[in-house]
Amino acid sequence: MHKKKTSVRRANIAVGVVLFTVVACLSLFERPRVRQPAGYPQLVSVQDFPTSPDWCPPPASAIRADTNLFSAFGNGSVYAGSPQSGETGVITRPPIRTIRDKDPIYSAVAVDTRYDEVILMDNNNWGLRVFNRLDNTPPDAPFTEPKRIIAGPKTDIQFNNGVYIDPQNGDIYSVETDTGDKVVVFPRDAKGNIKPARILATPHRGFALAVDEEKQELFVGVQYPPEVAVYRKGASGNEKPLRSLQGESTRLSDVHGIAIDPKNKLLYTTNWGHVSDYRIVGTGRIEDPSISVYPLNAEGDTSPLRTIQGPKTQMDWPAQMTIDPETGDLYVANDIGHSVLVFKGTDQGNVAPRRVIKGNRTGLMNPSGVFVDSKNKELWVSNFGNSSADVFPLNADGNVAPLRTIRSAPSNKVSLKFGKVEALAYDEGRDQVWVPN
């Protein structure tokens, strides 16, 4: 019963939050004038069909030419082509409205502790923004200017979701999720529209990065088909992975975060719980989200050592994850929960988090990235929902205000949270359009 309930909750999340409505015009509460339900065709309207061979252009509009929208475009109605003429009416007028969030939407965060810089991944404008670690946007300031921006067509940054900073030389690793299918690597001081120093082709839907510095191995978490692909850290081009963790026994599902515990030689993944083998009918199911734990050198269809999963965990679209190597505390950006959940790396089963950072004082809104700055004992969180990143003490717990916040938009900003919009649906009754993320 409970599993069913939580599965339904997961299913709900997959749409209730993925889809949100953009009000296109007026009458928000107007109820639709719907047709009567019917299991058979019904007459909707009677119209002349305009594209018959003997169709003629419509008569001129009764509205004065200087009072309609066409006057604004400097052109008039474009008549349809016809099969007989072989011509096409080409509409060249610009869009009359655009729904777009021009501010950054931050998907991930990392800190270069050697240079006291914070790197935020802008998934919306396809870029990386570098700030001073101690930047703190005043409440009345609209935003903080970054020190550097890496963005532009030469960078190959596209829908970036995972970031890693090399602790030795400051190299910036970025994984491109949907249209990119690659990891791009920039030198620490990169700026502007520049080519990456290195590009590594990765599987489609790569979402998270981690590096085992001791073994010089790069781990790429792949959403679906779920996989953790392990490459040489210096790999480039079409170099194949050294090994891959994937298969039904792994219980990987819709991977969105990975973390490495080099001290205990463990690999952690966050899983959203959408399961299926795309080659086998009926294998689809929706499970509770989870964290699964593997030996760091796991490969093939290896079962996890243990799993954290169940309603007590509060996980709700668990995204990026990071571990404090000194304490073994595992920090999880909990997107839909608007929280950061802190587990022990040794936890397993249906357990409550040891700590939860959540509430109106935290500034957290759809957090998707986390980073532990061990040197300065700080926890960084990037917010997908409001163009900001917050920093907390490593021992933060409950509804606490951040130590500092870097904002790239005014404080009351709520991001559109568009994450590559590919479809639309119109609700005529409410005069609203549905936009999936």
């Binding site: 339904v8 299913a11 709900n12 997959a14 749409v15 993925v18 889809l19 296109a24 015009c25 719907v34 047709r35 339900p37 019917a38 299991g39 058979y40 065709p41 909707v44 119209q47 069909f49 305009p50 474009v78 349809a80 082509g81 016809s82 099969p83 072989g86 096409t88 009416g89 080409v90 060249t92 007028r93 869009p95 009359i96 409205r97 655009t98 729904i99 249209t179 489609h204 959403q223 679906y224 299926s276 795309y278 080659r279 086998i280 009918v281 009926g282 689809g284 199911r285 839909i336 559109l416 919009v421 590919e422 479809a423 639309l424 119109y426 009754g429 005069d431 359009v433 549905w434 999936p436």
Partner: protein
């Protein structure tokens, strides 16, 4: 998610869950975390694949109480499913592990695509499938049925990925066409130039203009422009007048 559907008669939203092989139906007024009204999922459904095979999109036909799920080969990036390429049709009220009412698939259908898309014209009783062109079937076609008409060829200007839709009141098909949008009549057949074309990328600079919504109330169409993460509204009275 590459497509979904609003049902204005029953005020419901029908969406696909690509990675869990499911069709979910929600209240039209759904907001926040709310359970779906119905879930179609399981071995009897014959649903196979993921976002780039089956379950790229789903389309409701509220007039006839049906849900259309196109299934493709996959293989867009990575190996394909090895399964059939066609269209599964479910009862709108189907819930749980239910079999489709019918299936349109086979060599005569000409549906051969990694991610076919469908639109339903409930007025003229037609099903339009985008698969290397626009294939126009009787709405109730099943099995290995030939299309009534096929719009395909160099004069069409080509087709792109993303949704298609039918503005049934005027008998017009709107389809992505090489990063723009183009309009054909449901009666067009063969190598036919579109009636209208909006070269969206040329006008706005944005690529993957893959989503569409027709807004008769305002004589507009809205286009989802994926690569620039934005939604564009074009005034297009010609489509409605």
């Amino acid at each position: 998610m590459h497509g979904f559907s609003y049902d204005p008669i029953h005020d419901e939203i029908v969406v696909n869950s690509p990675l869990s092989q499911a069709i979910l139906t929600f209240r039209g007024a759904v907001n926040g975390e709310e359970a779906p009204l119905r879930v179609i999922q399981g071995p009897k459904t014959r649903i196979l694949g993921m976002g780039y095979a089956a379950l790229s999109t789903v389309t409701a036909d509220p007039v006839h109480n049906e849900i259309f799920l196109p299934i493709g080969s996959g293989g867009y990036r990575g190996e394909g499913t090895g399964g059939p390429q066609g269209v599964l049709v479910f009862d709108r009220m189907g819930n749980g592990d239910v079999a489709p009412k019918r299936m349109l698939a086979g060599p005569d259908t000409q549906i051969r695509n990694s991610t076919p898309q469908v639109a339903v014209d409930p007025i003229h009783n037609l099903l339009v499938v985008k698969s290397n062109g626009l294939l126009i079937f009787d709405r109730a076609a099943e099995g290995n049925t030939k299309p009534l008409r096929v719009i395909r060829g160099p004069k069409t200007g080509g087709f792109g990925g993303g949704q298609i839709t039918v503005y049934a009141e005027k008998g017009l098909i709107l389809s992505n066409s090489m990063d723009g949008w183009a309009v054909w009549s449901i009666n067009d057949d063969g190598d036919v130039a579109p009636r209208w074309r909006i070269p969206v990328k040329q006008i706005t600079g944005g690529g993957q203009n893959s989503g569409i919504a027709v807004i008769p109330k305002h004589k507009e169409i809205m286009i989802a422009s994926a690569l620039q993460n934005r939604v564009l509204t074009f005034y297009f009275p010609e489509l409605f007048d």
